[in-house]
């Protein structure tokens, strides 16, 4: 029996020849990740357990991004705790204000994660790195604590679901539309406990940023991980970033899949998830007139350069609709600098938008764009649960950067074609 990419990575890290779905394994980890919300809890557990050393100071990444630059005394206290822990244990990949970016944009950008890796992170969107052909999954703080000490974790090998992608995306249709379409198709628990594997010629037509966005949101269908094959675009992305050897895996012809779906990229339209679940998707003809108060363009899902570039191209030469606030958040310092140098920020500022330092901030209702009672927001983020970005009676519409930018100009949920 052949194996899937996910199974091959798991087998390699478990030190066995083969694994199959539902088997329990103990696997070595290449990176253990935490942020300013989950790391403090993990550090407490680490110390409570009596651990004195981390397994490898170069294989732990602590990224201060959720409430950073700190929004209040309590969050500053939490970051201080992580900062002191990092200093004490000489953690190589500790990223604070000035060096930090949103973790799931930053780690691939710096080449800290790579193809073939086995990665856990105390953040549910750790699955993002599947875009590079790595196994990456979100865990809680206790798992992070134990893995910081042992460098290992136990896993149940997930069943794999295959998505055969064919065709090519139309202009301004992006990975965000693809993953929202898929979540709408299978539901928020449609891939619960499973690996979502993306395959077929359609994969190769998509950019790395599209793939990061797709892998990022597989958790919104309940998946354990999302995974892409490695191709020339992956190798090109890793060139200059990853300085060590990496392993490429491909699924065998006779690998076993729990389910398969065929997705024609040519058929994908602008797709928006309406409140209050990511599966509640609608295409333009079903949108109706949704007037909006705020737009957020950014996050680990859509805060990369091409995301901001797409939004800027839609906004170029236009002003925000009366009464609409637009917050743009580049995911990393590198994205920030490129956007600044390329005139992308000028387009946003001239339109009436504001630019923030990298932060997860508003996506999780932390700060930097909290919604009031009854307000509606179009966001390029990943969750539209009740109260996610603020008041429990506020509404979030999840969309691509192009749709978010168009909506900011038109004043209601709109496609780029409606910007005149």
């Amino acid at each position: 029996m052949g194996m899937t990419i996910t199974e091959k990575i798991m087998a390699f890290h478990a030190g066995v020849k083969s694994v199959k779905a539902d088997e329990l394994i103990m696997a070595k980890l290449d990176i253990v990740l935490g942020n300013d919300i989950t790391s403090p809890v993990a550090i407490n557990e680490f110390e409570k357990a009596g651990f004195v050393e981390v397994f490898d100071k170069e294989k732990i990444a602590l990224v201060m991004d959720h409430f950073v630059p700190c929004k209040d005394i309590k969050s500053a206290t939490q970051v201080k705790q992580v900062r002191e822990f990092s200093k004490k244990h000489n953690i190589k990949h500790y990223y604070d204000v000035g060096k930090m970016g949103i973790e799931h944009a930053l780690l691939p950008e710096l080449g800290i994660v790579k193809a073939g890796d086995m990665i856990i992170g105390a953040d549910s969107h750790t699955c993002t790195y599947g875009a590079l052909g790595a196994f990456a999954t979100g865990v809680g703080s206790t798992d992070m604590a134990v893995s910081m000490a042992t460098g290992k974790s136990w896993f149940k090998v997930p069943k794999s679901i295959k998505f055969n992608l064919t065709g090519k995306l139309k202009p301004y249709i992006t990975g965000k539309d693809v993953i929202l379409h898929i979540i709408g198709l299978i539901g928020v628990d449609g891939a619960r406990y499973c690996a979502m594997e993306f395959a077929g010629e359609g994969v190769h037509s998509m950019s790395m940023d599209d793939r990061f966005t797709i892998a990022n949101m597989v958790i919104e269908a309940g998946a354990k991980n999302g995974i892409f094959p490695v191709d020339d675009k992956t190798r090109e992305y890793m060139r200059g970033r990853v300085s060590v050897a990496y392993n490429e895996y491909a699924s065998d012809e006779d690998a076993e899949y729990f389910a398969e779906y065929d997705i024609d990229l040519d058929d994908i339209d602008y797709t928006v998830a309406f409140p209050h679940l990511p599966e509640n998707v609608k295409t333009p003809s079903e949108w109706g007139e949704v007037y909006i108060d705020q737009i957020v363009i950014g996050s680990c899902t859509n805060g990369r350069y091409s995301d901001l570039y797409n939004a800027a191209m839609v906004m170029k030469g236009h002003k925000l609709a009366e009464g609409v606030r637009c917050i743009v958040i580049p995911a990393t310092q590198d994205v920030y600098k490129k956007c600044m140098n390329d005139g992308i920020f000028d387009i946003f500022i001239d339109a009436g938008a504001v630019i923030s330092t990298p932060t997860c901030g508003p996506c999780l209702g932390g700060y930097m764009g909290i919604l009031a009672d009854g307000e509606k927001c179009v966001a390029t983020t990943n969750r539209n649960f009740i109260g996610r970005m603020g008041h429990k009676n506020s509404e979030i519409y999840l969309a691509s950067p192009a749709v978010a930018a168009a909506s900011a100009i038109v004043g209601r949920l709109a496609t780029p074609a409606e910007v005149k």
Partner: protein, 166 residues
């Protein structure tokens, strides 16, 4: 291990943002987290729930963020066990790791109603609905998982190990 309490019933896809909104994640204090538990979908829950009470919910309980603060806030509010049709995978693992008992039973999830008094045997998986005179069964956890829950969490269950570094 036996648990008994009054039921608080919730629906499908109860996500970690409603269990504990991120605006309260600037603390690790368990009692403080408990005081905000479920605040965005049931403002009365945190004030009414008593030690030993039981949550019964639908499918995909705990979906969304990996925040361990979610099961921590539920456990610190006094809830002794959560019974659901199914759990999201990160929440499932987090609940066990912090020593919060959970059980999957479609029948119990459907038939148990808000306010029922129920009795749960974690060892056998038997659930007795005292109010309705009904019984349901859930697959019990293997012994090592029951041991983690009995030890009040994964860390406590392995505490004697000082350093794993080779």
């Amino acid at each position: 291990m036996l648990k008994q309490g009054k039921v608080y019933k919730f629906g499908d896809n109860i996500d970690t943002d409603v269990i504990i909104p991120a605006r309260y994640l600037n603390t690790q204090d368990e009692k403080e987290l408990a005081s905000y538990c479920m605040i965005d979908i049931d403002t009365a829950f945190a004030g009414n729930v008593r030690e030993g009470d039981i949550i019964v919910a639908g499918s995909n309980f705990g979906c969304g963020s990996s925040r361990e603060h979610a099961p921590i806030s539920i456990k610190a509010s006094g809830v002794s066990v959560i019974i659901a049709k199914s759990f999201a995978r990160i929440f499932y693992r987090n609940a066990i790791n912090i020593g919060l008992a959970i059980m999957e039973s479609e029948e119990a999830s459907k038939k148990i109603m808000e306010g029922d008094e129920i009795n749960v045997d974690l060892t056998s998986g038997k659930i007795v609905n005292i109010t309705r005179g009904e019984e349901y069964f859930a697959e019990p956890f293997p012994e090592f998982v029951q041991n983690i829950i009995n030890c009040n969490g994964y860390i406590n269950s392995i505490k004697k190990v000082k350093s794993w570094k080779k």
